[in-house]
Symmetry: C2
Subunit: 492 residues, 2 copies
């Protein structure tokens, strides 16, 4: 199965696409730019949702649901916001079809034109802040800590499955606070939640930081992000958390009476991650044998394949297989016994290897005699014989070890590919030869950032938190003074 | 709190609306016909989703996600389907806005008109069967057992929160099978799943049956449904399961090679329930004191309210309150301690009563001395003093008793309001005086059904399974022969 697909070296982009298609994660649809998320891909997203949803609830948030439609005039209320989103909106203009009088199918019924066009939400700040106006009178009504799981639409011209699609699934948190401090604290808290999710669940190390003005969310005062490095040396923004100041409160007139009894505008945050994380997951860990999944997000954590020659052997090894499955089930490990007699073990081995199942257990007659099983790790492709005694605990530990190993491997890769660069020529040659995170000085101006982007397609991924007090230097492009290095990369 | 709202007797419709608004379940939005589902209402939907999702997975289904957009031409491929849905579609015609040259806001960019208009899914059979064509070649690819949780849009002219909204949330199962028998079996299996969910989780008894041709899903061969009776004597369709025959396979050319090697069209089912179930839940159990929720779907199952005079007392009773909370948490009972010192106990009692929390526990100083707590049941409004010893088990049993009591009460109500009627005059007077399920003979023709609907607004809710072999008689309207009674009612 792995033979008829591209390696990373040969063609990274097709390698990615092949994994998405051949591992059964998603496929393109009849609608331009929209994908079908297939059951195996959707199961990964469900695992992500479940972990994130728990983290949101543990930090005091509740879910709610707001309309998919945004009146056109709403978009226009926040100047930067409309600038950022108006150019990529799906617009609903009519609410009825009718039979074509010529008898050829159906046409839009011009009598059913909307008075005001509706936009399909590209993000929900406007409709939500229009609602919050009704929810907030006094400081006692604050904070509002709400999240929404939803689909959104941005009319992208160039799409790639999971990474950039016209419709995608995401969560968007929208909170309202009485003070600036509290809103900033919330913004950073959720950035930490995303960081923990990326590192502990996705096994992807990320760099936390602040976006430059050019890369800021349309309508935000400050956009914070986590940035991950993919195996081809390109960066991927894995989550953003925005401090929105009072911009949306002012646009939608959301005020509250404070403890002193005077009226103030409410402070806002918003934060989101999307199905693009599935793309990040694929690109961070997978190899030339297919998908590699961290155990915490793998829909199937362990697959058991019986090895047999006769139907008598089949019965015996299957019995043991299900016995082991039951022990793993009891530990909430997700196990599949593939006892289909329509496929050979070798075919199954390839199948689950390609699908990134972290652990494969094979059981044959000799294993029954020796009280062993053969275990193969997807991350290292190592095989070993294990005694059956205490197997559930061993598997549990092995899953932890795999999770850990994937993170350490990704971290080592990122460290190897994070490079301090001080000369403009080096900047360009590093970008073209190997990519990666380039730590370079920048004069802090949007103009310089724009020029660098035009010349190299590299953008400032973030102004990282960690080196805030690092050495001063000179901008790699303009030579003007710089207070700290920022992270440049080409990005998805 | 309960005083400023309508009773069922005074105005059933406003009573319903008041509960939705004042219990914080939902509210209308700036977009006509679309509601905002507020956190408390959404938490009920999450409980429903979680229970249903488990039942779907236990019966072998996986979730997936298909595009929200349906090319206009797809709708037209199945003749009945387009007839049923074209008149209530939101139509996307453009993909960009631009600044109005006159400087007044933003307008639709006419240069960004879609070649083919996109419909926002009112249901997904068409886009899904267009996809299944690629998934199915051989009988080995069948069955496909897929479900989708999604938002859908039907441009309704008259909307009511939860019961009928332009956008609503739902799940839609879409399965593909090699044989008619298997597809019919699946259709009925999912009807049973819905029945179990309605009765065991929602505590609402339902009648299973077949829809008449008039009420059939647009594109189905047979539509099965579960019908519930609301307190005002109107019926509510609580779930439908459709046997689609080969209609969509033929429309989208989905064939498979069977074991004998010849090509056949695939057999289909689809089945769905929506956020309308939240409306059913409200109307089935609530009373003139507000919302009543069955424990299995209550976001908060138990609320603990401390009763105190001094801050010293506050500390002591809160300590006990959290001690009890921890014991209930350990049993996965969802508990809230409302220890806010900004509200009086009486205010809190009214609040949680109105919000339908099944059990309220009050703890005061005398309770500490006597090792008791005061427990109030929402369903019966009874209060009793309980010994603290073994309190978690007692609460657990009480929750079961409340769940059971709500079901029995709803069942008794339905039995009292299911009436055999044999004369046309009685049919009309029963409908006008008390409503309910009217069991009457029908001649089986669409014409008669249509006339009865015109004259009385009553429709055939279903041809029930249970009386399939019941007595013959004469149609209540036409006097023509009838093989069995069917269920008539006015309906939501």
């Amino acid at each position: 199965m792995a033979k008829d697909f591209f390696t990373r070296e040969e063609n990274y982009s097709r390698w990615y696409n092949d994994i998405v298609l051949k591992a059964g994660l998603a496929e393109t649809s009849a609608v331009r730019g929209c994908m079908v998320i297939k059951p195996y891909g959707y199961a990964i997203w469900e695992k992500m949702q479940s972990a994130l949803d728990k983290m949101f609830k543990d930090t005091g948030h509740s879910n709610a649901y707001f309309p998919i439609f945004i009146p056109k005039s709403f978009l226009n209320k926040e100047a930067d916001h409309v600038e950022g989103f108006a150019k990529e909106c799906a617009v609903v203009t009519h609410y009825r079809l009718k039979n074509d009088p010529s008898g050829k199918g159906i046409i839009v019924d011009e009598d059913a034109r909307l008075e005001e066009e509706l936009i399909i939400r590209p993000t929900s700040e406007t409709i939500i802040w229009d609602t919050y106006r009704k929810w907030v009178q006094s400081y006692r009504d604050l904070p509002i800590l709400v999240n929404q799981w939803a689909n959104v639409v941005r009319w992208e011209m160039r799409t790639r499955m999971f990474l950039r699609t016209t419709e995608f699934l995401w969560q968007e948190g929208h909170t309202a606070h009485a003070t600036k401090e509290e809103a900033v604290e919330e913004t950073l808290r959720m950035l930490d939640v995303y960081t923990e999710f990326a590192e502990k669940h996705m096994a992807i190390p990320v760099i936390k930081g602040l976006k430059s003005e050019n890369e800021r969310f349309a309508g935000a005062v400050d956009t914070y992000c986590i940035e991950a490095l993919m195996q081809d040396g390109k960066a991927l923004q894995a989550g953003t958390s925005h401090f929105l100041g009072q911009n949306f409160a002012k646009a939608f007139d959301v005020k509250f009476s404070n403890k002193a009894g005077s009226m103030e505008y409410v402070w806002a945050t918003s934060w989101g991650v999307s199905t693009r994380l599935v793309g990040a997951l694929i690109m961070a860990h997978s190899d030339d044998n297919g998908l590699v999944l961290p155990p915490k997000l793998a829909p199937i954590q362990v697959v058991i394949v019986p090895i047999y020659k006769s139907s008598e052997e089949y019965q015996k090894v299957c019995e043991k297989a299900y016995e082991i499955k039951n022990m793993l089930d009891a530990k909430n490990i997700s196990v599949k016994v593939d006892d289909r007699d329509t496929h050979k073990p070798g075919w199954k081995f390839n199948e689950y290897e390609f699908k990134g199942v972290p652990i494969r257990i094979a059981i044959g007659m000799r294993d029954l005699e020796n009280k062993t099983v053969e275990i193969a790790r997807r991350d290292t492709l190592e095989k070993a014989s294990y005694q059956q005694a205490d197997i559930a605990n061993k598997i549990e530990h092995l899953l932890e070890a795999i999770q850990d190993n994937l993170f350490r491997k990704a971290l080592a890769f990122r460290e190897d590919n994070t490079i301090k660069v001080d000369k403009w020529e080096d900047f360009k040659s590093v970008l073209d030869s190997r990519g990666g995170f380039i730590m370079a000085h920048w004069d802090g101006t949007a103009e310089t950032e724009e020029k660098i982007k035009e010349e190299t397609k590299a953008t400032i991924r973030c102004i990282p938190f960690e080196n805030k007090n690092s050495e001063k230097g000179k901008c790699i492009y303009s030579g003007e003074p710089s207070n700290q290095r920022v992270i440049f990369a080409r990005a998805y």
